[in-house]
């Protein structure tokens, strides 16, 4: 598959494909080139290898697959149950992988740190063996550093690629194209962690925002692709307090990510994406969840620390969904239409979309129960709305900030994040003799980033929106991993760090040229 043909696109060679490639290019010329290339690459890799299971490398790999599945008939037929996020491999049973033909997909590879880590994990669990043709790795674009491939126990990784020998600037350019594609498809939130409901707006956008702003803080901005984005930030005060009694003991629900993102999907349709990630203790002394309905919803995958973290995150996100739908319910019924997800396991169920992407992170999720809960929340909100509409709420004013200003602050926040992390890497001797950080992932918790933002004199709601801007532009990446707290407690928490070497190098250069935004 990897024989090069002398066809040049963006200064690099395409791999040889079949005639279908040309058909694609001819018939789908309205689709941007990068979308077509990725789709073609993935289709060809799948046709050649015929996998039974796909492992998608977090986080852009996962987002790309989801974006392509939404727009490609053939890929959308691939069963969601057979897609696994690389982050979940560790906590899933080996039987799920054993003796299956597996395709590992990632978008880009510079040094191959993530791929190697994943392969080591598969090898450690006895899933990968040398010369095992059942496991194949497909990476869309390779940096020139990896032009000869990544040697891994006698094999050269990847087996399939589309671009290779990319210079730093070509690699950077390919990365920007991919990020733009994701933004066109509705941002990086097309990953596998978050549930969503959709709303079609018939009335005024300003009334929509005012409803959200009833008690929460709201920031509106435009993504690079000119889509409207709304960040609804829920402060740590009533009524936006998470029900910590439903979570394992010791779960931290304050100074965490707790928000709702609302992203324009086109034609006045918005995706409403509630997000909350409380930090859970690594060691859970009691059996959680204790509520049988939660057990039914989440299944057995919550028995591991990371699984518990995601389980708590899903329950917390449902709570955030309750807040946002209740706030929206004060709008008149004709002003918007809420569209709820359908249960893919029930072909006759109503609703136009499904949340089966969640299986990649929640492999034992009971989708029927989730859909039922979402529906109950929506009904309760509608019922509350009738009462709320009769109450007059004072219109809350909020300082306006333009998108240009937000983007400027986003770069400032990113600069300080990189600086603080570099200082930590250096001061804790966390680098090896070649200078690379020994600890990966190594990020900052939300509360630390909020503290940085406050030193930059930014409001919490603005800081929260900056996270979204940085995530959508793939400038920061999220992790869920173990963090140490001073009192000998280890927690599983959400952390954030500049996304990989390309971004980190750019940020360091930027800081050298322009200085840090404030004295640090």
């Amino acid at each position: 598959m990897n024989r090069a043909v002398p066809e040049t696109v963006l200064g690099v060679r395409l791999i040889e494909g079949n005639h279908e490639r040309h058909t694609d290019l001819a018939f789908e010329s309205s689709i941007p080139l990068i979308d077509r290339q990725l789709r073609m690459f993935l289709r060809q890799s799948m046709e050649q290898h015929r996998p039974e299971l796909m492992i998608v490398v977090e986080r852009k790999g996962t987002a790309i697959l989801r974006a392509l599945r939404e727009s490609d008939d053939r890929l959308s037929k691939w069963p969601s149950h057979d897609i696994v996020s690389s982050n979940e491999v560790e906590r899933l049973p080996c039987d799920l992988f054993r003796n299956k033909r597996i395709l590992i997909f990632d978008d880009m590879m510079k040094r191959g740190i993530h791929i190697r880590k994943l392969l080591e994990l598969l090898r450690g669990r006895g899933i990968w063996k040398p010369n095992d043709e059942r496991i194949r790795v497909a990476v869309f674009a390779l940096h020139e550093i990896s032009s000869k491939g990544l040697p891994f126990h006698g094999e050269t990784i990847p087996h399939f690629w589309f671009y290779r020998d990319l210079t730093q600037s070509a690699y950077q350019s390919a990365r920007i194209q991919i990020v733009k594609m994701l933004q066109r498809a509705g941002s990086l939130l097309l990953d596998t962690e978050h549930l969503e409901v959709r709303a079609k707006l018939h009335g005024s956008f300003n009334r929509f925002v005012d409803a959200l702003r009833r008690k929460a803080d709201v920031i509106v901005f435009t993504s690079s692709d000119n889509r409207t984005n709304v960040t609804v930030f829920y402060p740590d005060r009533a009524p936006y307090v998470l029900p910590s009694h439903r979570f394992p003991r010791g779960t931290v629900c304050e100074r965490i990510v707790k928000k709702c993102r609302i992203v324009e999907r086109g034609d006045s349709e918005f995706a409403i994406i509630p997000i909350a990630f409380p930090a859970v203790e690594k060691v859970c002394e009691t059996d959680w969840p204790s509520d049988p309905q939660d057990v039914d919803l989440l299944g057995r995958s919550v028995k591991t620390p990371v699984g518990r973290f995601y389980g708590v995150g899903l329950l917390a996100a449902l709570e955030v969904l309750r807040w946002v739908l209740r706030d929206l319910a004060i709008l008149d019924e004709g002003e918007y239409t809420l569209s709820l997800p359908r249960n893919p396991e029930e072909p006759n169920s109503l609703g136009g979309y499904c949340l089966d992407h969640l299986y990649a992170v929640y492999p034992t999720l009971n989708m029927g129960e989730l859909v039922r809960r979402i529906s109950t929340i929506a009904k309760a909100a509608r019922s509350d709305g009738r009462l709320l509409r009769s109450i007059k709420f004072p219109r809350r004013r909020q300082a306006l900030c333009g998108t240009g200003e937000l983007r400027k602050w986003a770069v400032h926040l990113l600069q300080v994040m990189r600086h603080v992390l570099d200082q930590r890497i250096m001061s804790h001797d966390l680098y090896d003799s070649s200078g690379r950080c020994l600890k990966h992932p190594f990020g900052l918790r939300a509360r630390e980033i909020f503290a940085i933002g406050r030193r930059l004199r930014l409001e919490d709601a603005v800081i929260s929106a900056l996270f979204d801007i940085l995530i959508d532009e793939a400038n920061i990446v999220t992790h869920s991993g173990e963090v140490e707290e001073g009192n000998n407690i280890s927690r599983i928490a959400r952390t954030f760090e500049p996304d990989g070497e390309v971004v980190s190098e750019a940020v360091r250069r930027y800081s050298r040229q322009w200085g840090l935004p404030i004295a640090w």
């Binding site: 435009t222 409207t228 690379r436 250069r509 800081s511």
Partner: protein, 401 residues
């Protein structure tokens, strides 16, 4: 708000190719100019330990001068940054003579005793300012500084005994005029005039401290390092092996912690006052006031105050342990100290014992021979136990860690 115009302020669009190279070059020249002014000052100035020869600085003080320059210059540039961006966007050089065009590209890197200036790119370990300058001196004959590492470490310009003197080409403002704007030259001249009155200790203090959070962080960093060696001493005590080197290193970090938490206050205060009394330029003054907080703000702040007793105790204990290690290794010096080193440790013992008592530690023997079971024997078991107990107390106490 909907349909808001997206302004181009993206990471990659903000980067300018080749920019760092010229910024580094200018920074080194500016630092050379500053240092030359300090070096050739003929007025009244105390000659301290940091100035081993007239007009020369030791490595640590020089590195702190680099830190001071980097921080202040970055702050100066911050005020000009919007105008520089505007100028670049409009592609018009209109007012360029009156602008500060570059920021110092040096990073704040973490060295043996905390922050210094240098370069960190995550591809290799941090490179310190003196290493960069020394390499330029060796490879390209850069004439702004003359860096002389000590004979015992000829390849280590960062060695604390390295001596730096000013290069010939920084004598006057002429060497700046080629690539600096008028405004930059004015500020640099004023900066040079205001720092040349400082003695080496004052430069070191001013470049070491900025504000309370940073000072508290730096003290904690030294205490954490002291804790590493404290653990080694405890291991040696358990295994009854020599702990002279570990205790020496522990004492070195504990001493730095103590000086940063308490001892540098006077030098910092007098240095800051001296600089502010000399500086004429309003923007430079504002930058210095922003970067260098008043001494009271730093050393009266609770996080720093909380660290004073801890670092004082750590220093007293580590010196005592170091003396004990020396006398353990040299039984002949326990009663009468005949060698120079023996006298040095006896003197150190006499100094640190009252400090120990002042820190509330009175369980340790008061005279060196009382540590041992006989004139040529081993450390007594109950002394070992008490020392281990005191060390364990010290290692656990780092407020805010």
């Amino acid at each position: 708000m909907r349909g808001d115009v997206t302004v181009d302020f993206e990471l990659y669009q903000g980067l300018r190719s080749g920019r760092e190279g010229s910024s580094f070059e200018r920074t080194f020249r500016a630092l050379g100019f500053l240092f030359h002014g300090w070096s050739t000052f003929h007025g009244k100035r105390k000659q301290t330990f940091e100035e081993p020869e007239q007009g020369c600085l030791r490595a640590i003080a020089f590195d702190k001068l680099g830190m001071l320059f980097t921080q202040v210059w970055r702050e100066v540039f911050r005020a000009y940054e919007p105008r520089v961006r505007e100028m670049l966007e409009s592609r018009s050089l209109g007012d360029v003579k009156n602008l500060v065009l570059f920021s110092s590209p040096l990073d704040e890197v973490i060295g043996k005793h905390g922050r210094g200036s240098g370069l960190y790119d995550a591809k290799s370990p941090p490179v310190y300012l003196l290493e960069i300058l020394y390499n330029l001196q060796i490879d390209q004959g850069m004439p702004y500084f003359d860096i002389r590492p000590p004979g015992k470490a000829p390849d280590r310009p960062t060695h604390h005994e390295t001596i730096i003197s000013a290069g010939r080409e920084c004598e006057d403002v002429q060497h700046l005029s080629d690539s600096f704007t008028d405004r930059e030259i004015d500020i640099l001249k004023d900066f040079r005039n205001s720092v040349r009155h400082l003695d080496g200790s004052q430069i070191r203090a001013l470049g070491t401290h900025r504000g309370p959070e940073q000072t508290a962080d730096d003290v904690r960093w030294e205490l954490r390092k002291a804790r590493v060696f404290c653990d080694r001493v405890i291991d040696c005590l358990k295994q009854e092996t020599c702990f002279l080197d570990s205790s020496r290193q522990m004492a070195e970090y504990a001493r730095e912690a103590y000086w940063k938490s308490h001892g540098n206050e006077e030098d910092y205060k007098t240095a800051r006052d001296a600089v502010l009394s000399e500086v004429q330029d309003g923007e430079l003054r504002t930058a210095i006031l922003t970067i260098q907080r008043p001494a009271d703000d730093i050393w009266s702040a609770k996080p720093v105050q909380d660290l004073v007793p801890v670092s004082r105790k750590a220093w007293a204990v580590s010196r005592y342990v170091q003396c004990g290690a020396f006398f353990r290794k040299n039984p002949s010096q326990r009663v009468r100290q005949v060698s120079r080193t023996g006298k040095h440790f006896k003197h150190q013992w006499e100094e640190c014992y009252p400090d120990l008592t002042a820190c509330g530690i009175s369980v340790l023997p008061q005279r060196p021979p009382d540590l041992f079971d006989s004139p040529a024997g081993h450390i007594r078991q109950e002394v070992l136990d008490r020392v281990a107990e005191v060390l364990n107390e010290v290692r656990l106490e780092i407020p805010g860690d």
